[in-house]
């Protein structure tokens, strides 16, 4: 997400779209995957739309992945900085599981995927996070030695 203003716009767009398609919610079904699926699509649409417009501007700025790599060199990485270094699909799954508090089944529903695929993405994300933490610890120890 580029900035707070854009986040607010997307939030507003997501809730309006949820309101527009409210007839598609079936009572008795879990509500969170339904909301997340719509919000996820709004985010993708918003990202693609702004990318079409501001492609040349983004090229001049630091990309989110590059930013994350730069930030993890700083001591005390937070969840956000480490997770932003993950590929988009893994970041989405980890955020839904650990920040949103969704179950594996709910994440699978929200991402139009299967539980097996979600487990695989989460597993790969945790392996990658572990490596990032290790790199962070090694750099911290090297810095302390110097």
């Amino acid at each position: 997400m580029a900035n707070r203003e854009q986040a607010d716009d997307l939030l507003q767009e997501a809730w309006l779209r949820i309101h527009r398609v409210r007839h598609t919610y079936r009572p008795g079904e879990p509500v969170l995957p339904w909301i997340y699926a719509i919000a996820r699509r709004v985010r993708v649409d918003g990202y693609r739309r702004t990318r079409r417009i501001t492609l040349h501007e983004i090229a001049m700025e630091v990309l989110p992945e590059a930013l994350a790599c730069a930030e993890i060199r700083n001591p005390g990485p937070t969840f956000d900085t480490l997770v932003s270094a993950l590929p988009e699909a893994q970041r989405e799954v980890v955020s839904m599981l650990k920040v949103g508090g969704l179950t594996l089944d709910e994440v699978a529903r929200a991402t139009s995927s299967t539980v097996g695929a979600v487990k695989q993405k989460a597993h790969r994300a945790y392996e990658r996070l572990r490596k990032l933490l290790q790199v962070q610890a090694e750099e911290g120890a090297r810095g302390a030695a110097q």
Partner: protein, 270 residues
Amino acid sequence: MNCKDVARALSEESRLPLQAQDHLRICNRCQELAGLLNSPVPVDPPSPATLRQMAEGMVTDLRPVRPMAPARYFFGAFVAIFVSIVALSVYRMGAFAIAVMTPLETAAIMSALAISTGLLAYSLAHQMVPGSRHRIPPRLLPVAIMILLTIAIAVLFQFQNERNFWGNAWACIRAGTSIGVLAAVPFWLMLRRGAILSPSMTGAATGLLAGLVGTSVLEIHCPNLDAWHILISHLGVAMLCALAGLVIGLAAELNFYAADSPFSANHKET
């Protein structure tokens, strides 16, 4: 239990098993990972102005709505449309292929088409409702079905060198595509009742289902049993319709991105 097993357990269970907890006590790397995943993430609430705009946007339409019918209703409707159009077309064109195919060929190809149709109808019925549970990823399903049918045709029928191949192929492609386009209309009318989140994905699946109507009619009607002919001009109809659905879906998405919205450039400039 080692570190990899702990990562696997973390991705499978919300609560770690006892063995993983034992490993966590002695492994610093796993402790760090578990600590990171359990750390609280600050969430900024939306601004009051945003909340007010959201409320205003919803207030304009507060009519009560009737929830959508269960997925099995839409599944049944998709299958009924499929069967009706196949039956009507075969009634008009004739079932000449049934007379020349062996019972095994007939049973196998019809089963493959029926399974493909059932899977696609099930997937589409669930794609209409956001957050539905999918047994097979809807992105992979059209590709998997095309591969399944290609293998079935290649195994069941013999490859021959047919004279006037493209002339015969064109006649079948034209007839099958016309039936596919005809079938796409009621499918689209059904889909409009739901919320299509990914027009390209749903377009490809709908196009393939409509194309399979044409393929099924040709499989029952056309007595040409050359595997090349069936692959190119019968299954080709399904492929063409799926591609057309994908292109229409992509066009709808591009059209949507280009439209004015709260996060478009036009909006920000004003």
